[in-house]
């Protein structure tokens, strides 16, 4: 095990413009390339950040590799998963057609009892994404590393980098900055770890000099242990999902996806997209791909910044509009919309739906460490409770930037402020009130949507596990109330995305279905790790000398 101190190993960022598997794929980055697990519904890239299950492929015999993140070499063998004989002509699609309301695995498939072994075989086959690993290229040997740091910054965006740069002016001790993506050149004076993902931050141990231990996974799947006195979480936010009929169709993607999947290209992977959302994120999407946007649809009002940009491209606006259903099969061909307040249903042709309506924080590390989080109704999410200086309810654990809740006006100044609080130049301060938000009106939106929902097309509440909205409704009807019970009853939130894309919507829907405010619906314990982490990475690490209980 390499325990070298924080000497910069010169981890050069990979060329961020290097093509991923998606770039070379027939059908382009949004082409449909796999089937979902239970109903074998067509799936395509959705989040563009390696979290969802829309682009899994088998690479060199290793299952469940995210195509959107993998930059292939010339000899790599890339195969589709979970489709036979091919994604487009998959025989498994019969399950989608035969069971328009889904397969009830809780109460169904019991009769005749002699058929149960057969049902078990079929259901087992349908479960799971890829097949057993048969690596054709051996994995590199475990090269676990152990580092000691004064401050560890998770996330090398503008805020995280500003924290590191300010700390470097005084070098209080080694600083480590890590990021799961290929970030640009990092600040001098910090050990930069690219393509390194923070996986697990247990609650700190008060008795140690460096109370926090952060467990992470490096670019080749190697384990990394960082003992540190401070942790700065600068993991940013992500674009959340919005539930609608056939909302899992290829061509439906988040704003993250729309901005990342053709990042280096001069045209997007769609001809005419509908952008959903009326705030800052929608404006960003229009700034990038304005020419190819056919309409802006918002659950609530549309902000002036979006109105102005839309006018420049002559894009029609549909404020206060319900997104009811996507049409199309292997690719979205249109959407059914309706004005709120019982407006008539109308149709719009489109080949992509970009969800740009709300960003939520990547706050899992706060959850794991046991910090206090609070429900904020406007965007509808849980946010860390932070002081003025950015400190959470756990001393030594800090948050900055989007993860803290308010998109910073000036990321550099924010980073500097947190760094100075860490350095003790300014008091950490009182807990800040939660930030103000632009209205998204999502709670009222879901009430109206629930009233107008038609059963045509599946409403997939959790795409990783193919859990349908009416299964959620059924759970509530049978007396399983609250997200903890519903998660267990339906499996919602237990897939590879760790609940990022289903939970926020599920909370809103449960609040409507159970007629009680979201905080009473509760929240699930965010189980470690933050992202699925290879057994090999854990195995290479030394056992901690003490138990964190």
């Amino acid at each position: 095990m390499d325990t070298s101190p924080a000497a910069d190993p010169g981890a050069a960022p990979m060329d961020p413009a290097a093509p991923t598997i998606l770039d070379g794929w027939p059908g382009g980055p949004l082409g449909f390339r796999q089937r979902s697990i239970r109903y074998h519904r067509p799936r395509a890239p959705f989040c563009g950040r390696g979290d969802c299950t829309g682009c899994l492929v088998r690479v060199n015999g290793r299952p469940n590799v995210r195509a959107c993140q993998y930059r292939p070499g010339p000899n790599d063998r890339i195969e589709t998963e979970n489709a036979w004989p091919s994604p487009r002509f998959d025989l498994g699609r019969i399950f989608d057609l035969l069971f328009p309301r889904g397969i009830d695995t809780t109460r169904g498939l019991l009769r005749p009892s002699a058929a149960r072994p057969l049902y078990q075989r079929v259901v087992r086959r349908l479960a799971g994404y890829g097949r057993f690993p048969t690596p054709t290229v051996p994995s590199p040997p475990s090269a676990a590393r152990r580092l000691e740091a004064e401050v560890t910054i998770v996330g090398a965006g503008a805020c995280g980098r500003a924290v590191a740069a300010r700390l470097a002016l005084e070098s209080p001790g080694p600083t480590v900055i890590l990021d799961r993506t290929d970030t640009g050149p990092g600040p001098a004076g910090a050990l930069r770890l690219y393509r390194t993902t923070a996986a697990f931050l247990p609650p700190p141990s008060a008795t140690r000099e460096r109370p926090f231990t952060l467990w992470a996974v490096g670019p080749d799947g190697e384990g990394l242990r960082i003992d540190t006195r401070h942790v700065v979480v600068a993991t940013g936010g992500y674009d959340a999902n919005l539930l609608f009929g056939n909302g899992d169709r290829p061509g439906v993607l988040t704003a993250d996806g729309a901005l990342a999947l053709a990042a280096g290209a001069d045209r997007p992977p769609f001809r005419e997209a509908v952008v959903v959302g009326g705030g800052a994120r929608a404006a960003e999407v229009i700034d990038r791909w304005g020419e190819w946007i056919g309409a802006v649809v918002a659950p609530g009002s549309i902000e002036p910044e979006v109105v102005a940009r839309a006018a420049a491209h002559a894009i029609p606006l549909f404020p206060r509009t319900l997104l009811l259903r996507a049409r199309g099969f292997g690719r979205v061909t249109g959407v059914d919309l309706a004005g709120r307040g019982s407006g008539p249903t109308f149709h719009r042709r489109t080949d992509a739906v970009i969800l740009a309506l709300r960003r939520l924080p990547n706050a899992q590390l706060f959850f794991q460490a046991g910090a206090r989080l609070l429900w904020h109704p406007r965007p509808g999410g849980y946010f860390p409770r932070l002081t003025d200086g950015g400190e959470s309810s756990i001393p030594g654990l800090w948050g900055v930037g989007d993860v803290a809740g308010d998109p910073p006006e000036d990321p550099i100044a924010d980073g500097v402020r947190v760094a100075e609080a860490i350095l003790g130049h300014r008091p950490s301060g009182e807990a800040r009130p939660l930030p103000r938000w632009e209205p998204t009106e999502l709670e009222g939106y879901v009430v109206e949507l629930a009233a107008r929902r038609r059963s045509r097309g599946k409403w997939v509440a959790c795409a990783c596990e193919d859990v349908l909205l009416h299964e959620v409704e059924e759970a509530v009807r049978r007396g399983y109330h609250g997200i903890e019970a519903v998660k267990r009853y339906t499996g919602l939130g237990t897939g590879l995305c760790q609940g990022r894309y289903c939970l926020p919507d599920a909370l809103l829907w449960l609040s409507v279905l159970e007629h009680r405010p979201v905080p009473e619906i509760g929240y699930i314990t965010q189980r470690p790790p933050v992202v699925p982490t290879p057994l090999g990475a854990w195995a290479g690490l030394p056992e901690p000398e003490e138990e964190s209980s």
């Binding site: 695995t105 097949r131 690993p133 267990r488 699925p532 090999g536 195995a539 138990e547």
Partner: protein
């Protein structure tokens, strides 16, 4: 909180896990009168019954445990028809690997006892182990004990099926109702104080799992069970590749592939004694488990851990459950001390505890009597040692 509707019950059951609910079910079927189940959690299965690995086996060292397990296997086979909820009980065997001559000796003794009890246990050579689990490295494996009618199930549907069935039989199941104090009244009935207020009952059943000794203390009695925190994790789901539950008793490693394709397993890790504040995960567990799994199954290196969690169960001094009337507080009945295997025995336990609560004296209950630890000078012999976790 869903509080009790009345203040007067025949039986109050503390703990709404699989044991409390099975007991309620048996009592209600026997027409025992008004029954209430009080659980502290805000949702069903908040205790070990919603946190376990779903393993169901009949390979044990003591005939007593084997008999309970056999009865339970039959009940779980019928569960779907009886309760209308599918627990996906899949009987594809438990494979106990022996990795030392001492383990060979111990597991062969288990194999003989199980065979004597009339079950078709098999002793497998390493070659047969390799055929049963392709990809498993048999280096260092000297043999294995295997029983095909063992298996795994999905624990939640069992709890839901019971929850719905007992309610249909008129039992009240209350959530968010922690019990603070149990005390004898003048008329020899018991009063139960808790988050719900106060109610009276003829019989109180302590089915509080990992909290059984705590609940006993709240009734002013001693119960020699010990809470144990056990960690477990699940990986990303793959297509089916593994049929049996694989166990290595020497270090407590076990793993199986669920119906959903996830590899679910754990390993023994020492934890501080007592009940901690949360049910969290330690990095030490993940490191140990990953090393142990990959030592046996190198091809799983890239398989990713999806989530890890933990729960509490309670262990008894001799490894056998503690079932029946408390020797010092009349009316209090214990259903405790199940170690890492309460779920797999629950149907049989429910029947026995219901019998004990109704005052039946069957010879079957004798080995499990709470009074067996009453004499502090008599050494406790650990009888059932094939426990995991």
């Amino acid at each position: 909180m869903t509080g009790p509707r009345q203040t007067d019950y025949r039986v109050a059951i503390v703990g709404g896990g699989v044991i409390g609910l099975y007991t309620a079910y048996r009592l209600a079927r026997a027409g025992a009168g008004r029954i209430v189940v009080l659980d502290r959690g805000s949702y069903l299965s908040n205790g070990a019954s919603g946190r376990n690995g779903g393993g169901v086996r009949q390979q044990w060292e003591t005939p007593e445990t084997i008999r309970l397990a056999r009865e339970a296997v039959e009940a779980y086979r019928r569960f779907g028809s009886e309760f209308g909820v599918n627990p996906w009980f899949r009987q594809s065997g438990y494979l106990f690997l022996a990795d030392s001559p001492a383990e060979v000796e111990r597991l062969q003794a288990v194999h003989r006892t199980v065979t004597q009890e009339g079950l078709p246990s098999q002793w497998l050579t390493p070659e047969r182990v390799a055929r049963l689990v392709p990809g498993l490295s048999t280096t260092g494996i000297l043999g294995a004990s295997y029983l095909e009618s063992d298996g795994t199930l999905y624990p939640f549907p069992v709890v839901w099926g019971l929850f719905e069935a007992v309610q249909n039989l008129g039992v009240e199941v209350c959530l968010g109702t922690e019990v603070y104090r149990i005390a004898a009244r003048d008329d020899r009935r018991l009063s139960v104080d808790g988050a719900h207020g106060r109610l009276d009952a003829d019989i109180v059943v302590n089915a509080a799992g990992g909290w059984s000794s705590e609940v006993a203390r709240r009734a002013g009695v001693d119960l020699p069970t010990r809470p144990v925190r056990h960690e477990i994790c699940a990986t990303e789901p793959l297509k089916p590749f593994l049929d049996p539950m694989v166990v290595r008793a020497s270090d407590g490693l076990y793993f199986s592939q669920t119906m959903r394709g996830e590899l679910v397993g754990g390993i023994s890790v020492p934890h501080p004694e007592g009940l901690g504040p949360g049910m969290t995960t330690s990095a030490g567990f993940l490191v140990r488990y990953a090393r142990a799994v990959l030592g046996l199954y190198p091809a799983l290196r890239d398989l990713r851990v999806l989530r890890a969690w933990s729960g509490y169960y309670d262990e008894s001094p001799d490894g056998l459950p503690i079932l029946g009337a408390d020797p010092s507080l009349p009316g209090l009945v214990h259903a405790a001390g199940f170690g890492g295997h309460g779920f797999m025995l629950a149907p049989a336990i429910g029947r026995l505890v219901a019998a004990a609560a109704l005052g039946e004296r069957t010879a079957e209950l004798a080995p499990f009597a709470p009074g067996r630890f009453a004499n502090p000078s008599a050494p406790v012999r650990n009888r059932e040692k094939l426990s995991l976790g």
